[in-house]
């Protein structure tokens, strides 16, 4: 028998370069990654990047007539209505946005994965109940639900994260449900079952590893959505409460003076758009790299 192996040809597959190398090859993705890292840097090192406190109201932050200062001079991006430095507030606001992006989105992914994988693997009545619940959540206007929840709980940073997670897990659940359902029908899962593997073992060792690319992609794309949702909630006044700066509530506070002091809305708006765009670029690139079914479509 030993010599038979020499006749069966060994198929050698080319090793694919790592994810980081592949991202580095895509200019747009690299740009996105740069913006993300820049935001993280700004959030972490905010106290060292600026000499002001985010909630410090400065006497020379307002003109003699009590109007906010335009960009330039000591205040790079100008000041807001209360004479606080806008750049400082945006830098500290990045912390809020990222915490929401990571925490809310992580929680949403967790709920979505548990619901989607359970429903897709077990099907039957468990699957039906879970997926109808998901449908119900989808049918309900997300913003309305978020506003309701935010109104019930005392708004704080973590409550806002929780509210966003409760609204946002639905998409992940649906995607993972479909993927798990098709994986569960594959023959290697049947093979595992005949070996006597428990459901937990099959789910953790044989289904989840196949879902990791999807989870990573949805996680990255989801951050931009959650950041936008936080900005929306804060803008509506049910999000992060002042004086804690968040990009959304900076716009909310200053919107009435848009005509007189456009920079107060423009700069935080630009920050939101940039971060959302950055995560989208990275997420799209990850999807192309990790999801073989998407290959060749670009």
């Amino acid at each position: 028998m030993a010599n038979s192996t020499s006749i069966d040809p060994i198929v050698t597959a080319r090793k694919e370069p790592g994810i980081l190398v592949q991202i580095a090859r895509r200019k747009l993705a690299l740009f996105g990654l740069f913006l993300v890292l820049l935001t993280v840097f700004a959030a972490v090192f905010a106290p060292w990047l600026t000499s002001f406190e985010p909630n410090e109201q400065m006497f020379d932050g307002l003109s003699i007539h009590g109007a906010p200062m335009p960009p330039g001079g000591a205040f790079l991006l100008g000041t807001d209505l209360l004479g606080r430095d806008l750049l400082t507030r945006i830098l500290y606001g990045a912390r809020t946005s990222l915490i929401i992006g990571v925490a809310a989105n992580g929680l949403a992914l967790l709920i979505g994965t548990i619901v989607g994988v359970t429903a897709g693997y077990f099907r039957g009545w468990i699957g039906s109940v879970l997926m109808r619940l998901t449908d119900l959540m989808m049918a309900f206007p997300a913003l309305l639900l978020a506003i309701c929840l935010a109104a019930i709980f005392q708004p704080s940073l973590w409550i806002v994260a929780l509210v966003i997670a409760i609204v946002y897990w639905v998409q992940t659940a649906r995607v993972l449900y479909a993927e798990t359902a098709s994986l569960a029908e594959r023959e290697f899962i049947a093979a595992e079952r005949t070996l006597g593997a428990s459901h937990i073992r099959i789910l953790v060792k044989h289904i989840l590893p196949h879902l990791v690319p999807t989870i990573i992609v949805w996680g990255t794309l989801g951050i931009s959505t959650t950041v936008l949702l936080e900005a929306t909630l804060s803008f509506l006044g049910v999000g992060v409460q002042p004086p804690t700066p968040s990009w959304g509530n900076i716009i909310f506070e200053n919107q009435t003076y848009f005509q007189a002091a456009p920079w107060l809305v423009f700069f935080p708006g630009l920050a939101i758009v940039t971060l959302a765009l950055a995560f989208n670029l990275v997420g799209d690139a990850l999807r192309e790299i990790l999801d073989p079914t998407q290959r060749g479509r670009d």
């Binding site: 028998m1 038979s4 192996t5 006749i7 198929v11 023959e187 290697f188 070996l195 006597g196």
Partner: protein
């Protein structure tokens, strides 16, 4: 290859001597794929001639380039990666490799037609048969749709399809696989092409249906004088159909000769290997020793096992039909025995396997190693699971692609908590060597192996827990014949060395005969004949068994065969109305444990 060869072999074929020149000539054809490392050749310097009325078989195992060659002739190579990089294809006076797409379209279907392996995917599922046929005719000839439809009807009649008028208004899914392949042949031949390329035309069909389709192809070809290129891996089909044979391996030409000479005096070593590896009916009988009465204990006992699936339909989703997959099957498998279940697709042989490992629910009794696993009293617990393992048809699909093969083989040991990690690793190394793989392959992933090696990995995994019984469900069907022969040798070794029993499920009569101790023939969910290998293949008593055996193509071109009586009308189906009852067959003992259904 020298030109002398072609002429000599061509002169032997009687049809070609009257014609002037070859209808198709391939001259040093090269096909390459564009990869990141530059061009990689797939077909190398292939030359052959094809004459009118001749059948040329291109034989070879997977990856030999035989299908690519046919696609190149049709101008259907997948652009832009794969293309012709040298040589020429002369179709009469025309050079096909340089012809534009619109000129090629004039030739395709009209002058050179092609039929594919899978008739379901080559027919448009939302178009009626008649419309599809008529459309194909209209595309090449300027006749009215009504006339084209009349031609379509004539074409369906010529392929001897039952009730051709009714078939015109049916959709592809309403026909069986054999009928669909007939429709494909009708479509291909309706325009009376000069060349018909048949790429594995019967591989997806059951053996009795294959027989009918092959007979039909040969008759039609003789009537019309079409040149036929038959692409196949099955040397039995080659022996029965071909005038000349061209053997390919890994994109290279191996040898070409007329069919009788090739089978009797193969010149190349590879051709000899290929022919020796083909399992032939009759080989098993000669080699099998006289069957001594086996008194070993039973490892599996099945008693009146029934598996039915409900079919729901209508808005209320009520059960209207039932699939009677397995009806009253009783059989016993002894220790150290290879027991084969043989039958055509849909006869319920795989369902029995699934019931035995608990993948489908059943009623009746199943005992594994004496333990009852049937509801309501018994279930499959881990103790039973250790005794019964399964090897599936497609080794690629049954191995988790994201795990290293060593981990996959260790998996059953981990699940059942056998031994320490070091002991488990030693066991994996032992198993790898036992199935003919080397230790340094343990850290690789499934996609880095060939099909045969992957099936060895699956067998190693099944052996890990030292089971009493391994179910091999079509485990060698997807493998090339030379690889298949080696895996079969391995299975026999495992039986004699380890005393494990096999339930071997297959549609391939020749393989079954070569490997089995006892055989059961299934038809529509019931066993119609059961007995020792000698009894079933030596003295088959049931009409269905005889039919199955006589339908198997033999790799001997000199052997004359009687044509098989065709079944008339629709194929019988295991799907029945809920109110219907299934007529159960009664098995009668004809002596020495040879059980035959009373007809």
């Amino acid at each position: 290859m020298s030109d002398g060869n072609i002429k000599r072999s061509g002169a032997k074929a009687p049809e070609t001597s009257t014609e002037s020149g070859p209808v198709l000539r391939l001259d040093h054809l090269n096909i390459s794929v564009n990869t990141e490392d530059g061009l990689r050749p797939l077909v190398h310097d292939l030359s052959f001639d094809l004459h009118r009325g001749e059948t040329l078989a291109i034989a070879g195992e997977s990856g030999s380039g035989k299908s690519l060659t046919s696609l190149a002739i049709m101008g259907l190579l997948p652009p832009p990666a794969v293309r012709v990089t040298g040589g020429s294809i002369h179709f009469g006076e025309q050079e096909l490799t340089t012809l534009g797409e619109s000129a090629l379209r004039q030739i395709r279907g009209n002058r050179i037609a092609m039929i594919f392996q899978e008739p379901m995917t080559s027919l448009n599922p939302v178009m009626k048969i008649g419309t599809q046929l008529a459309e194909a005719i209209c595309a090449h000839e300027s006749i009215s749709f009504k006339d084209a439809r009349a031609r379509a009807l004539a074409a369906l009649k010529s392929v001897r399809l039952s009730e051709p008028e009714k078939r015109l208004n049916q959709f592809p899914h309403e026909l069986s696989g054999g009928m669909r392949q007939r429709v494909m042949i009708a479509m291909a031949l309706a325009l009376k092409p000069d060349i018909l390329i048949a790429d594995e035309p019967t591989t997806a069909l059951d053996v009795t249906v294959q027989r009918e389709v092959l007979d039909l192809l040969r008759d039609l070809q003789r009537e019309m004088g079409t040149a036929l290129i038959l692409i196949t891996h099955d040397m039995g089909v080659v022996a029965e159909m071909a005038d000349r044979v061209l053997v390919m391996k890994g994109g290279h030409f191996v040898e070409e000769n007329d069919v009788v000479s090739l089978f009797s005096q193969p010149r190349e070593a590879y051709t000899r290997d290929l022919l020796n590896a083909v399992p032939c009916l009759g080989d098993g009988l000669a080699s099998a020793s006289a069957n001594k009465p086996n008194e070993d204990p039973y490892v599996a006992e099945l008693e009146n096992v029934v598996v039915r699936f409900n079919v729901r339909s209508g808005i209320l989703g009520r059960v209207t039909h039932r699939v009677h997959a397995v009806e009253n099957v009783s059989l016993n498998i002894r220790k150290g025995e290879i027991f084969s279940l043989v039958g055509e697709s849909g006869c319920g042989k795989s369902t029995i396997a699934k019931a035995m490992v608990g993948l489908v629910k059943h009623s009746g009794r199943i005992r594994i190693n004496g333990i009852d696993i049937s509801p309501p009293y018994g279930t499959i617990d881990n103790q039973v699971r250790r005794e019964i393992q399964m090897v599936f048809q497609d080794p690629m699909a049954s191995l988790d692609p994201r795990m290293r093969v060593g981990e996959l083989v260790r998996e059953p040991l981990v699940i059942h908590g056998v031994g320490s990690v070091a002991e488990q690793k030693r066991r994996v190394e032992y198993l790898f060597e036992r199935v003919g793989l080397s230790r340094d392959q343990i850290e690789r992933y499934p996609h880095e192996f060939s099909g045969g090696q992957r099936q060895r990995i699956c067998i190693a995994r099944a052996l890990a827990l030292n089971p009493k019984l391994i179910i091999a469900d079509e485990s060698v069907s997807a493998l090339d014949v030379t690889v298949q022969a080696k895996v079969l040798v391995l299975l026999k070794e495992l039986v004699s060395d380890l005393g494990v029993s096999f339930l071997f499920i297959s549609h391939d009569m020749a393989v079954v005969e070569n490997i089995s101790d006892r055989v059961a023939v299934m038809y529509l969910g019931q066993i119609v004949e059961m007995g020792s290998c000698q009894q079933i293949f030596g003295t088959p008593r049931h009409s269905y068994t005889r039919r199955l055996i006589s339908a198997v193509p033999t790799a001997d071109p000199t052997r004359e065969r009687q044509t098989l009586a065709r079944l008339v009308g629709d194929v019988p189906s295991p799907v029945r109305l809920i109110s219907e009852t299934v007529p159960h067959v009664t098995l009668e003992n004809a002596g020495n444990g040879h059980m035959i259904a009373i007809e």
